[in-house]
């Protein structure tokens, strides 16, 4: 019996929770799509990472015991659309494995390879070969926004055509290869009326975990919060009535949100991660790379040749909730779970700082908390359990 022992691989986003170093390779700034909500405002076809830059980065992280002291590592590949550069990614992963093995690095026994993809190239033979080759270490998330209508509203080709059909045809294979994987859904103002049907649609495709969040940009209109709350309450009813909670999760509903803050911690992991762009520059995360920013230059921490500038990293390592939040957020009675993105904060701050938290989603968070309370209280009554008082 022992020869057949199997262990389920956790998805990269929760693997070794909080103990891993995340190294993000921005292998390309190109993408087949032109999604309307995409934060990558400066996508282009010219910025492509070369193998030498990637090798230097791998050597750097394997040799750097100060900033890479974590027990494990997640090599994340991002773009643009990362699968466009699958051959380069394959070479990078091979180089990492080989160097980690040669140098007896602890990460050889503790690494993962993560992707977030638009899914268009999923069935490409080169992608499939890569998956086969690295099967036990890969986490691959495909982004589908929900129903065809909702998906095609945002996730479009440059000519405006929707991408839904070309993505969904790859879902059965993806589901088979990564049965426990999840999808990521982003909600902007125009998407609100479609939330309920979109999440239910994703469940119907067999996607068991739907990671969903509202955009951090200030796009919200008067009344969006009311509509948002209605959608989530309707979704809560469906999940409860159809007992979907037994097999599926939607991250809009969480038992840990909607309480006052008890700890002074930063929401975002920027600075503990490392992103490297096609020129070999290091950033606190992809949201600080130039092509992600609307109003500011990229925030460079260093590069593979010179290493990381300790001084530039210091703000990120001491950044906490109280130092960046307005007083009303510190005192907010439903604060827990109210997210922020450090890169978006930096981009939209009144001065060039990461210490000014954007409060664009305040009303949306409060609406979410009310719907979340509704969900857990109602479900608790049905199951005869107290599901709301657990912090």
């Amino acid at each position: 019996m022992t020869e057949e022992n199997k262990v389920r691989i956790d998805k990269a986003s929760s693997w070794e929770e909080g103990k891993s170093k995340y190294v993000t390779f921005v292998v390309t700034e190109d993408c087949q799509l032109a999604c309307k909500y995409c934060y990558l405002v400066g996508k282009n076809k010219s910025a492509r990472m070369n193998f030498e830059t990637a090798k230097k980065t791998v050597d750097f992280i394997l040799n750097d015991n100060i900033h890479s002291a974590e027990e494990s590592v997640v090599l994340e590949f991002i773009g643009g659309e990362p699968l466009i550069e699958i051959e380069l990614i394959d070479k990078i992963c091979d180089y990492f494995k080989l160097r980690a093995y040669e140098t007896n690095h602890r990460w050889f026994n503790n690494y993962r390879i993560g992707f977030t993809s638009n899914g268009l190239m999923y069935s490409d033979p080169r992608v499939q070969e890569f998956i086969k080759k690295n099967r036990m270490h890969i986490s691959l998330q495909i982004t589908i926004d929900g129903t065809k209508t909702k998906h095609n509203m945002q996730r479009v080709y440059p000519d405006g055509t929707g991408s839904y059909d070309n993505v969904v045809r790859n879902i059965p294979r993806w589901k088979k290869q990564f049965p426990d994987t999840s999808t990521k859904v982003t909600i902007s103002s125009g998407d609100i009326p479609y939330i309920k049907e979109s999440v239910l649609h994703l469940f119907s495709l067999g996607i068991k975990e739907v990671n969903i969040n509202v955009v951090f940009e200030n796009v919200w209109k008067e009344g969006d919060d009311v509509l948002f709350e209605e959608q989530l309450t309707g979704l809560a009813d469906e999940i409860i009535e159809r007992k979907l909670y037994e097999d599926f999760t939607c991250t809009f509903f969480s038992r840990t949100i909607g309480y006052p803050y008890t700890e002074n911690v930063n929401w975002c992991g920027a600075g503990k991660m490392l992103a490297v762009d096609s020129r070999g520059n290091f950033y606190p995360c992809i949201r600080f790379v130039g092509f992600s920013l609307q109003n500011r230059e990229g925030l460079v921490l260093g590069n593979a040749d010179d290493g990381i500038d300790e001084n530039k990293l210091r703000p990120f390592l001491v950044l906490d909730m109280v130092s960046q939040s307005p007083e009303e957020c510190v005192d907010c009675s439903v604060a827990a779970g109210c997210a922020w993105c450090q890169g978006a904060n930096y981009d939209f701050a009144d001065s060039e700082t990461i210490f000014q938290r954007s409060t664009s989603i305040c009303k949306m968070h409060k609406a979410r908390v009310r719907a979340n309370n509704y969900f857990w209280n109602k479900l608790g009554r049905r199951l005869n359990k107290n599901l709301r008082d657990e912090k």
Partner: protein, 337 residues
Amino acid sequence: MLKYLMIILSGSSVSFCHYESRKTDKSHKDLMDYDDLKKTVVFALKNNLKVNVLYPRFKPDKKYDRLIDDVEHVKIVPYSLRKYYKDSILCAEPKDLKRKDALNNLSNADIILRLSVSELKELKALTGKLSSHCCRINLVLRDIENLKKNDVNVYRKQIEEISKNIFAKKKIAFPEMNFLTDRIMLDSMNNCGAGVSHVTAAPDGKLYVCPAFYYDGADDAVGNIGSEPEIRNRRLLEIKYSPVCRICDAFQCRRCVYLNKKLTSEINIPSWQQCKTAHAERESSRLFLNKLKEIKYRGAAYRKISEINYDDPFEIAVKNKFSIQDFKYFNSNEKRK
């Protein structure tokens, strides 16, 4: 709350801190417009502010001095002009002090000594030369951004040597020295206060957080002369909003927000250079105080600097996050340690 204004009288005004002014310009063309100076003086008078004036290497027209005399002020002048401006703060660099006549016209002086990192090893000698002619020596490492980790040891050794020299003499006498005696006298933070207790009026007619931001060349103005400054995210200049400084007790630290911005990109986060030099000073001050206590020096028994096991409060800030309660009830003037 604003307490005073800095006035850069000319683009070639003497530098007194971690920045370089335009030294080569000795002409009057870079002088602050007389009307702007007048507006600044009026603003100071109306808002109960004192004024610190940074003078150039030349003597401006007398009407400037007359205008400045209308308001309570301190003149900060190049060392070479010491005979013209009695009771002013003098800015000196090693080359000024190597001249034959370096100690002429020098009595009970208040000196800002600007050294480069490469000149650190001269600190003991320069301090020795100045000691008996000064009431205060304020050291500034003019290019602190070039400091390497080993330079911190050089700095500490120099301060230790200065301390040794003081005790080697029969009669203990020494001027105030920011790097050795300030911390002994302080119970709470006493930093530069740029943007909080003072702002700077510059020759371009604009206000800046401090003179360094004017010379930096970036578009960092916070208003126009004669009007209230408007500093975006001003709260970040307060200690409460610096996760590193609010747990620190190197009270004598300059806490230069310009250096913060330049080196860490954040106005509220100090560089390791700032923290480690401040802690070298703190530790030297602690040992110096202990020696003063040993010889029962007047007042020393009432002062205390505790021993600590770190040389950069950043390490502590990373490990132990401030609690929400501690933040809410934080008082920067509270006696700590």
